[in-house]
């Protein structure tokens, strides 16, 4: 008789346990109970989020591919596969290895789809760097990403990092990986064909992360000693060999299906591959290569040892596959075969330890969670802008913003990442989006990850829309057309209605914005229970977006190129400050409503920039985001180290307050520079799309000077700006 404490500690409730009894028509074995507990957890089964994930559009301009574990789009004869995933809780406990194994896991999702991983990005959130542990986390996470990513040979080409108190006690580590394959060569994560063999490949199995999946992913995380999981040490070297061996094995045509062993290793891979293939499967776990002795069957089934995969191989071709893996000094062992009764049958030396219909494992219960608008929101949304004093010294204000860790240069981070290996990186980190050429074609991909979670906190629906709009804007600034999204949805405890309200609203926001821009969401990941004893994190639906550049010669970057060029502002600045970095850093307030967003205006501005770049009229393009127009202009001046230059801005449209115009974060704005002859042509394009257009100044000189009539608001030597912006992060970290 299974005691309620037992199934409850595995994360199953009374109803779920009753359901298991109904399915099996008997008591579950320990192995079976463990299997249900992970498959029915939020992490594997999406029990609480699934109803809302349905809102997301699946189709767009480019043909989309939705696979079992990842998704992508078709670009000519190539499939571009990508996905983002979180590794928040393990990273909070052990930042280096937590982040490292996070990188390893998402890369496996990509190459098991048959695509060679060509780049990764990361989206990170930490509490304030004034706290020692947060500094330790940032250092550790970056160290883990560089340790794994550099060794495995996948360039880390971009990402984003924000700091906010809500992440103290629960940092976020989201990693996105992109891969490319010939579209005819994709692999599926399914087992089909009676009698075909099931092979285990990769590292051996130990007692790593046992129970980690359900315990870590479905309980509120508390920083207590006893819940600390057996942390795993990532092995990027083995993963690198696995990439090569897997791609070689897939090329033989003898692989029917393949799946990464991620959360709940063999349990997930066996039941999900069988279920996806409408088959059954019989494996004997006595044959699983192990590195620890006396492991219980359920321990083998639940182990989350890294760098392992399950492969369904055409009968009679097992030796060929084994030969390839052993060439790379990797295990490859037949552990079972595909059956036709729809049952996953797990044996241990011939004795049955679990026997469950595959579908009953994968068809987890789905819950409609109650939601309710948080009480504090109305109060927070009220911001009387007249009570905010305008700065006395605009120079100091700008410098302060440029040295805020969320805004300053992330060079200290990305110079630790190999962002050039594979020789595709045509735009290196440090511009709005990174650009990767597609070898053998004229095309390139642009990639970015974005989410302002403060906006999402103040207004989840609009904040999520802005995340989508900003990602698309970043791609457009690099010369690309936005093509598809992967998301990583980080929220608090879904059982609390106010948290779930944030989730629901963000989902609606992403769905509506993606539909408007005709961009599908092809893959993603949900991470709930991101809480510390002080409360939930700001809702953080990180958006990873891919764009396509049809002509690699038409790539654009954010920094000014030449002196004496015209500077144009597309879009217009509103008198708003809600949720801005300025309000937080200068006035210590997290308040107001998220910036307004008019999707049609956003589209007009993006189309104008896109057309100008495509026609070769723009020398640079940079969108306005955190810190507003003044920060954007400063970045245009300084973000190419080899060629910094000043600018003279003397024709801004100051309709109201000066601080809103300079530091407000109105959406749908892009700064373009161009030569004198092109300005008229760009104006014509803007008129055609009905996008606000204004010439605001010229490039050149040694200072960034911004004036309003005769009144000089900002006048700073470029060197000074560069110093502040470049060195802030490092000095905060080593403080």
């Amino acid at each position: 008789m299974v005691k309620p404490e037992v199934y409850k500690s595995l994360g199953l409730n009374d109803n779920e346990y009753q359901k298991i009894l109904d399915i099996l028509k008997r008591e579950p074995t320990p192995t079976e109970l463990a299997m249900f507990s992970v498959e029915w957890s939020e992490h594997c089964g999406y029990t609480r989020s699934r109803n809302w994930l349905k809102l997301l559009p699946k189709k767009g301009k480019y043909k989309s591919l939705i696979g079992e574990d990842s998704g992508g789009i078709i670009v000519d004869d190539l499939a571009v596969i990508f996905k983002m995933e979180s590794h928040n809780h393990p990273s909070q406990v052990e930042p280096k290895q937590g982040a490292a194994t996070g990188v390893g896991g998402i890369i496996r999702d990509i190459f098991t789809a048959g695509a060679r991983p060509i780049a990764s990005l990361n989206s990170l959130r930490f509490g304030s760097l004034t706290q020692t542990y947060n500094r330790y986390l940032l250092r550790g996470v970056v160290d883990g990403i560089q340790f794994y990513g550099n060794c495995v040979g996948v360039p880390t080409v971009g990402g984003e990092i924000y700091f906010d108190e809500s992440y103290t006690g629960n940092c976020l580590v989201n990693v996105m990986c992109i891969g490319v394959a010939k579209k005819t060569k994709l692999a599926r994560a399914r087992a089909t064909g009676y009698g075909n063999s099931i092979m285990y490949v990769g590292s051996s199995t130990g007692r790593d992360g046992i129970g980690g999946c359900s315990v870590l992913a479905s309980h509120e995380f508390k920083e207590s000693e006893e819940k600390r999981p057996a942390v795993q040490i990532g092995d990027p070297f083995t993963e690198k060999c696995l990439i090569e061996a897997t791609l070689e094995a897939l090329a033989t045509g003898y692989v029917i299906g393949i799946k990464d062993m991620g959360a709940a290793g063999i349990t997930c891979s066996t039941s999900e591959m069988a279920s996806a293939g409408n088959s059954g499967m019989e494996v004997d776990i006595a044959r699983v290569p192990r590195r620890e002795s006396n492991m219980q069957p359920w321990e083998v089934m639940m182990s989350e040892s890294q760098e392992r995969m399950l492969v369904c191989v055409k009968k009679g071709k097992e030796k060929e596959i084994e030969r390839i893996f052993s060439k790379w000094d990797l295990n490859a062992v037949v552990i079972g075969k595909v059956t036709d009764d729809g049952v996953v049958r797990i044996k241990d030396k011939g004795k049955i330890v679990a026997e469950i219909k595959a579908h009953s494992l994968t068809q987890s219960p789905v819950y409609d969670m109650p939601y309710k608008k948080p009480n504090y929101l109305d109060r927070l949304n009220k911001l009387d802008i007249n009570k905010i004093p305008e700065p006395k010294n605009y120079n100091e204000t700008l410098l302060k913003l440029l040295s805020s860790p969320s805004i300053c240069s992330k060079k200290w981070v990305y110079e630790q990442y190999d962002h050039m290996v594979q020789t595709n990186t045509a735009v290196l980190p440090g511009s709005d989006a990174s650009v990767l050429r597609l070898k053998g074609t004229n095309k390139a991909l642009a990639a970015t990850a974005d989410c302002n979670s403060r906006y999402c906190f103040l207004n989840p629906y609009r904040g999520a829309q802005i995340a989508v709009a900003e990602a698309a804007r970043n791609l457009v600034c690099s010369g690309a057309q936005a093509a598809a999204v992967t998301d990583c949805l980080n929220f608090g405890n879904p059982e609390k209605p106010d948290r779930f309200w944030q989730f629901k609203n963000c989902m609606e926001g992403i769905a509506d914005a993606c539909k408007f821009f005709d961009i599908p969401v092809v893959s993603g990941n949900v991470s709930f229970y991101n809480e510390s004893p002080k409360g939930a994190i700001h809702p953080t639906p990180a958006i990873g977006m891919i764009g396509v550049i049809n002509d690699i010669k038409k790539v654009c970057t954010q920094y000014f190129k030449k002196e004496n060029e015209i500077i144009i502002l597309l879009g217009s600045s509103k008198e708003e400050l809600g949720g801005s970095e300025y309000l937080k850093v200068i006035h210590g307030l997290i308040k107001g409503d998220a910036p307004q967003l008019d999707l049609r205006l956003e589209r007009a501005v993006q189309q104008t920039a896109q057309e100008a770049i495509k026609k070769g009229l723009a020398s640079s393009a940079h969108d306005c985001s955190e810190g507003g127009l003044a920060v954007t202009l400063a970045e245009c001046c300084i973000s190419n180290n080899d060629n910094v230059m000043g600018a003279l801005i003397d024709n801004l449209d100051f309709i109201g307050r000066k601080d809103t115009a300079l530091f407000g974060e109105s959406q749908s704005r892009i700064v373009i520079s161009c030569n004198k002859k092109s300005a008229g042509k760009i104006r014509a394009i803007a008129q055609n799309f009905a996008a606000p257009f204004r010439i605001i100044g010229t490039t050149g000189g040694k200072n960034l000077k911004i004036s309003s009539g005769k009144n000089v608001l900002i006048n700073l030597p470029i060197k000074r700006i560069l110093d502040k912006w470049t060195n802030s992060l490092q000095s905060l970290i080593t403080a």
Partner: protein
């Protein structure tokens, strides 16, 4: 002066891919009979102090605070007078 040797090793329950790879390398060089190879750190500290007892306490503290990551590592040390 005191010479302290601090040995920092991965906990037994934590896998050590580096150790495994070195084991394979040694085996392919012809060394058999290897049961296990694990890699750790050795931190040597020279202290301008004579008080062994006090040093012991200090070193314990240093290990916990900075030198070892107790989530995945164990440590031990030896103190010698020089």
């Amino acid at each position: 002066m005191l010479n302290v040797e601090i040995y920092i090793t991965l906990k037994k329950t934590v896998s050590d891919p580096q150790g495994l790879t070195i084991k394979h390398a040694l085996e392919s060089l012809g060394y058999q009979n290897l049961q296990e190879v694990r890699v750790g750190k050795l931190v040597t500290i020279t202290l301008n102090s004579e008080d062994k007892k006090k040093a012991k306490q200090k070193i314990n503290e240093m290990c916990r605070k900075l030198l070892a990551n107790l989530i995945i590592e164990d440590y031990s040390f030896r103190i010698k007078e020089v």
